[in-house]
Each structure stands twice: as C-alpha cells, then as structure tokens.
C-alpha cells in the first residue's frame, strides 16, 4: 500500500459515525437491560437483573424455537433462489436493467405489498375465489407459519440477490471452461470452482436474510396466525404494552450477543472474509 496513513482517513468516517450513532445507542440498551423497570415504562437508575428473567417464562423458549425455525427456513429458501437469479443477472448483457427490474417492486411500500399477498392468498382472496369457481374447497393459505416463511422469502430476496450479484459479477467464468476442459462434469465444475469463489457473497446473503428475519415483527403480525409468534413481537410487546423496558432491552441484548457469535463463527469459517493485510 502506498500510504498507510490513508487507512486512518478511509476508516475515520465509518468508525466515527458508527461509534456515535450505533455503539452509543447499543450501550444505552445494554445499560437499560440492567436497570430497574419504571412503573410506567422508562427506567429507574437502580441496578437490577430482573430484565433477564424472561428465560424462565415457559412461552419464551417456544417463541425462540419458532423464530429460529422460520428464519432458517426463509433464509435457506431465499439464498437457494437468489444464487441462480444473481447468476443470470451477472452474466447477462442487460445486467443493470435486470438488477433494476428486480429492485423496483421493493420501492413500493411494504405494507401495500403484504396486503396484495393477502388479496391473492387470503381466505376470500383471488386464489380461493378461483378454487370455488372450479368447484374446489377453499384452502387457508395464510395465517400460519408457512405464510410467514413465504412472505419473508418475498421480502428478503433482494437482500440476498444484491450481495450475490456483486460477488458473482467478478467471477471469471473462464475457470468453469478450464475445469470442463480438464474433464469435470458441469455439476463438478460449478461446485468446485464457482461456489467456493462466491462464498463471501453467499455468506453475506445469508447474514442479510437470517438476521433481519430473526428480528421480524410486521410479517408475523400481518400474515401469521395463532402459532407464529416471533421474538420481534415479544420485544415490541414488552416495550410498548407491558412497558418493561429493561426486559425488552435484555432480550435484545441476548439476541445481539447470540447473533454476533453466529456471525463470528461464520466468518471464522471463511477465514479471509474480513480481509487481512495485503
């Protein structure tokens, strides 16, 4: 590198910004999780670990399991779909236009899109009306776990496609040809040259889908049913309805720690993901 001191210049904006506007609020959350609950929300500046009592609630583990189940399913499906889609876009002549085509639906408001899904798949939705016309029994597609997974996949697809596109776009496809020349089958060529090379992209796509899914709140509320409560709903309820700020902060702190551990393990698996020195 030409000038090591440039490192300071490049990294200063991001470090300052994140420290002020992110680390400090996170510290606030952690501190609040160890304070006493105010009677009407807020906190009293007295130490208390009561916020962490949520582990003992019987419903808590159930919700955690639900959340993990739904998030894993949504992530796996999303990433599996995103890889071929990103591949197609990256290798196409019209890549910018196609990328655009994929993103544009997501610039319409989230709520409206969910309501459109309800209009399609709802109990009195278009699909069911069609069923009735065809003499079939109407089916309840929504208000259950599968609906939450489906709509989550829908919502997170661009979060997976974009990073994968960025990673695939620089892949030198000549490697595939070289592998084929050496006698590998199409399958082997792809799995041994393509996939390992876009691993950082896959990891990023997984993170971008799994982590927001864990904190998901609106999707389970709107299309979930009686058995699809997720962690995000619990946190929101503790904060606003029970007004137990320390508890909401505690659950969030634990969620943050667990997710950071997850990211850490994932990046250890891809040792040079964070970049070492050149």
């Amino acid at each position: 590198m030409k000038n090591q001191r440039s490192g300071l210049v490049y990294s200063a904006p991001i470090t300052l910004w994140l420290t002020l506007l992110f680390v400090v609020p996170t510290l606030i959350v952690i501190v609040y999780s160890f304070l006493k609950k105010g009677t009407y929300g807020g906190v009293e500046w007295i130490f208390s670990a009561n916020g962490y009592n949520f582990f003992s609630s019987s419903y808590f583990l159930k919700v955690v399991w639900n959340t993990v189940e739904i998030s894993v399913a949504a992530t796996v499906i999303t990433v599996l779909i995103a890889i071929p889609v990103a591949l197609y876009i990256a290798t196409s002549k019209y890549k910018n236009f196609l990328l655009f085509l994929i993103i544009v639906p997501f610039w319409t408001n989230f709520l409206i899109r969910i309501y459109s899904w309800i209009a399609l798949l709802g109990n009195n939705g278009l699909l069911n009306k069609l069923f009735i016309k065809l003499g079939l029994e109407p089916h309840q597609f929504l208000y259950n776990k599968s609906a939450v997974i489906l709509v989550s996949v829908y919502a997170y697809l661009p979060y997976a496609i974009l990073p994968l596109y960025s990673a695939i776009e620089k892949f030198d496809f000549a490697m595939i040809d070289a592998a084929r020349d050496l006698g590998a089958s199409k399958m082997t060529a792809y799995s041994k040259t393509f996939l390992p090379n876009i691993k950082p992209g896959i990891i990023t796509a997984t993170l971008f889908t799994f982590i927001p899914a864990l904190g998901s709140y609106a999707i389970p509320k709107l299309v979930g049913g009686n058995n699809s409560q997720m962690l995000g709903n619990i946190i929101a309820r503790e904060l606003t309805i029970t007004r137990n700020w320390p508890k909401a902060a505690a659950i969030s702190t634990i969620l943050t720690i667990v997710t950071v551990a997850f990211i850490f393990t994932l990046s250890k698996y891809d040792k040079d993901h964070k970049g070492g020195d050149v």
């Binding site: 210049v9 009677t39 609630s57 419903y59 109990n123 009195n124 409560q229 619990i234 309805i241 029970t242």
Partner: protein
C-alpha cells in the same frame, strides 16, 4: 475530502441544534382520521394558527415515543388509561380552565367516569365510544349478541379478536365474574381458560386489519371499533352488518385532549380545545365519527344518528391504569398467544 466531511458534520450539527423561530403554530399528535380536515382548516383560517399533525394508531406507540423523549407536540389524545398514566407521571400541563369557556358544554354524566381528574385540570374529553363486535349477517345467522359467539365452532377460522391484551383480558375477566383490574392468579387462570376457548375458533388476533378484513370478506365476525369497520363499506355491506356492544364484558373508551408538559404553544393549545368544544364545531366531529356526543350543545344540532348511544355504554367498563396488575396480566397474555 476530509475537510468537506467535517464541514458537512458541522453544518448538520448547527441545523440540528438550531433555534426555532417564533411562528404561530400548534403541534398535534393524534389518532388517524380522528378530526375531520374541515375542522382543522376552519380553525386555521379563523385564528391564523398553523396546525401540524402527526399520527399514531395505538396509545402504546404514542406513549413510548413521548416517554423516550419525543417532544415537540403540544396536544395529544390518549385514551383514559394512558391519560391517567401520563398524569401520574407528571407529563401533562395543568389546564387553565378560564381559557376554555366552552367546557360548560361537556356532558358531565359521562365525564365523571374519569374519576382521577373530576375537575378536568389536565384531561379534557374528546370523544367517547365502545368496542363492539361486527357480524356479517349475510352468512351468520341466529347469533347471540355477546362474546359467546366466539365459542361457536361452526364459525371456526372466520373470526378475529383484537390483538389487544387490555381489551380481551378485561372482557374475559368480567365474564368470569372477576374484576378487570385483578392480578389474582386464580382470576387470571379463569380468564385464560375463557380466552383459550375463544382462541380455538378464531383465525388470528388482529388489531390492524379487522376493518379491512371484514369488508373484504376475509373475516365474518370481528371484534373492534365501529369507525374502522365501516370506513370503506359499501351501502349493501352496511345493510348486511350487525354491530353490537356485547351484553357482558363490554369495554368503552373516552379519548381526551391533554397538553404535554413543556409544550411550546400552550396559548394556542387552549384556543384549540376551546374551539373544539363549540357546539357548532363539535357537531361536525360527531357527524363524522358517528359516535355518541359528549357535548350537550352539539347533541341538539347533530344530523346523524350514532350507532349506539351513551345509554348503551352504561354497563361498559372504562379502561383505567392497571398499575401493578399489568405485569401478571401480560405474562398470561403472552402464554395465551403462544399456546
């Protein structure tokens, strides 16, 4: 480049901490669609005060924002339980009643229910109403006008209850013969049993889309507020709907105007409240909301007939602050939701 970044940061800070000019304004934090635009515009034209409104759709989000420090609002409109909480927390300005001469129009019979501020020192009622149940009578026949409808297995998967712990728990506790403010574990267990019985037959708990869902035919029986349910109904659909306030376990609400502590436009806030209380202005509000009138003068002028009268609310419970009972009730509610 470093220099320009520093420059931008300084600029932002200056703008952020800038002083506010003394404009003639009023900041409202209100429920959506709660005041007809005409009322606001007339006020603006008459007084020259510019009214800026932000919206919320639940007491909880309004309170969480203000509690966490979201200031800048002069007037907000909490329901009675949150009005009580805000008053206890010292979040409200004392009202100078000499500036609200029209307060005399207030129907005291209903206002007395706000027992913690009988003299209206902090809380001025805005509107009154009740939570009810709407039934699509085209498809549902022979039903009793009570919460018992939620025990009907033939309606399984076609009904919703509000996703609101206070509403559902209060009603269940009353039906079980207990106080809605109880924290007694046995009482709560009884209520839990009742609610779980209802839960078997509902499609989901829904506080946002019950109105739209009812109009779209997604749900045949919904628990909720009249104005949301009829918001976009056709005339034909309205004909087929039966909206009732259940015999037992009914909940009523009184939403009130309060002035927030530290409000910058206290004079204007008083003017606004006084203006709302003019009978000829308030009648526009009740004709718009179709709720019972709390303003004696306006009752005489109204053109619409409310779907239920203040009489019908006599047996209803007015939600107050639960105090310490909130936590045990919430725990039970969380159990119910995840079972």
């Amino acid at each position: 480049m470093k220099k320009s970044i520093i420059f931008i940061l300084i600029l932002l800070t200056l703008v952020g901490c800038g002083k506010e000019d003394q404009k003639n304004e009023l900041y409202l934090f209100n429920w959506s669609d709660y005041i007809p635009d005409e009322v606001i515009t007339d006020f603006e034209n008459e007084t020259g005060i510019k009214v800026i409104t932000d919206y919320y759709s639940s007491n909880e989000e309004m309170y969480a924002k203000i509690k966490a420090g979201g200031d800048g609002y002069d007037i907000t409109v909490p329901s009675t339980d949150y009005a009580e909480i805000m008053m206890k927390q010292g979040m409200l300005e004392k009202i100078d009643k000499s500036k609200i001469s029209n307060l005399k129009e207030l129907d005291e019979s209903i206002a007395q229910k706000i027992s913690f501020d009988i003299n209206h020192d902090y809380i001025i009622p805005y509107s009154v109403g009740a939570t009810g149940i709407a039934v699509n009578a085209k498809y549902v026949k022979n039903f009793e006008r009570s919460f018992d409808i939620y025990n009907r297995e033939d309606l399984k998967g076609k009904m919703t209850l509000l996703d609101d712990m206070r509403e559902v728990m209060s009603s269940a506790l009353i039906i079980a013969g207990h106080s809605p403010e109880s924290s007694n574990p046995q009482d709560l267990e009884d209520a839990q049993e009742i609610i779980l019985g209802w839960k078997k037959n509902i499609l989901k708990f829904d506080s946002e889309s019950f109105g739209k869902g009812f109009t779209n035919g997604e749900y045949l029986v919904v628990h909720g507020y009249y104005e949301n349910i009829v918001a976009h109904m056709t005339y034909e659909q309205a004909e087929n709907m039966v909206f009732f306030i259940p015999k037992k376990g009914a909940q009523m609400y009184i939403d009130s105007m309060v002035i927030l502590k530290g409000a910058k436009n206290i004079e204007n806030a008083h003017k606004f409240i006084d203006y709302i209380y003019r009978p000829e202005v308030y009648v526009k509000i009740i004709d718009y909301l179709e709720t019972p009138s709390i303003n004696i003068g306006a009752s005489k002028l109204r053109k619409t007939v409310p779907v239920y009268e203040i009489e019908d609310l006599k047996g209803a419970y007015l939600m107050k602050d639960l105090g310490e009972a909130l936590t045990p009730q919430s725990e039970v509610w969380n159990e119910i939701l995840t079972q």
